[in-house]
Symmetry: C2
């Protein structure tokens, strides 16, 4: 006997597919689960199936949704003249937690990256432009990762949106609040200087 | 909207129960799974259920088994006069991979640890003694973690087994002391088996 029983090997090999999980961690998870109550393992098993069955992209903004529209899009109190563009639903949630933004969102599904073969047609850019043409939107706020791909995506979007007569803005790049200035990298500081505001 | 949809939150909270997995890793796993094909997520879900449905302790040695007896116990070529005592099935598999041991095993299910409230009746010690009384066993080899609890468990077992007229030995301290047995490499384990000493 030089292998675990087949169902255990299969579980280990499925767990190994999780990001950052190697053989050792996968075995650790599998043994842990094997020693848990059947009910707990069943809950995880069902949560997996339900997440795929019940969650799908919002028909309007591509945020995660259980209904046709996500909670943001279906909220009548939201300002429909503002659309904040993010790459993933995780970032949308982060922005929601600030309690500062009351507009709608649009989730691109990634960032442009020719090196990784991600082109405009791979993102929900056409869907965004369609929304801008059919809805009364005053301003599009870009909240994309401050990396090369994020900036390239922002440039591309700005060029596509401006001809529609809609204002395009971008969240400020600057030093993170609550940390020593000495920890900020030079590029961030440089951007923070460029984006200085009168007080 | 300050929370993920409920099925996603539920999956994250179930994944967070895995050993060493915090909120950040659990979210990473959940987002990864949400972006996978339904078929892949279903495979993991089914693997979880099957591991609990199809794997149970071997009726004789408490190794993982799909049948009533595990592959080792049901192998007629095994030397039934030798029983190697381990704490968990993982260690049994490590020993199997050395190709050096042709006897049977007994899986205790842990190590004695009064501090953590693990007492003799919490381990399969009575079942081991029962096996020794009813089978023709010549020698019991202790292959327990070289930590305080492993040594205490070994001492306890030696004291209980010796009156039965059965030799008790212990794998040699070729294994690196102070680390879990599961981390030992196969060569070290093989040497430790060969160099076992009577106690």
């Amino acid at each position: 006997m030089q292998q675990y029983p087949q169902p255990l090997e299969r579980l280990i090999s499925e767990l190994k597919k999780l990001p950052g999980v190697g053989r050792v961690s996968a075995e650790r998870f599998a043994f842990y689960l094997l020693n848990q109550e059947t009910e707990q393992v069943r809950r995880l098993s069902q949560a997996l199936v339900q997440v795929k069955e019940r969650i799908h992209p919002c028909a309007q903004c591509f945020n995660y949704a259980e209904e046709q529209l996500c909670p943001v899009c279906s909220d009548p109190k939201r300002d429909r003249s503002l659309i904040c563009v993010v790459s993933h639903p995780q970032e949308l949630l982060k922005l929601e937690r600030t309690h500062d933004y009351r507009g709608l969102y649009h989730v691109l599904g990634g960032l442009l990256s020719p090196i990784n073969d991600v082109h405009p047609e791979d993102l929900r850019i056409a869907e965004l432009l369609q929304r801008l043409k059919s809805e009364q939107v005053r301003e599009v706020i870009l909240a994309l990762d401050p990396v090369v791909e994020g900036e390239a995506t922002g440039m591309y979007l700005a060029r596509a949106i401006k001809p529609l007569g809609i204002q395009v803005s971008q969240i400020a790049y600057g030093v993170p609040v609550g940390r020593d200035l000495a920890f900020a990298d030079e590029l961030t500081l440089s951007r923070a200087l460029q984006g200085r505001v009168p007080i």
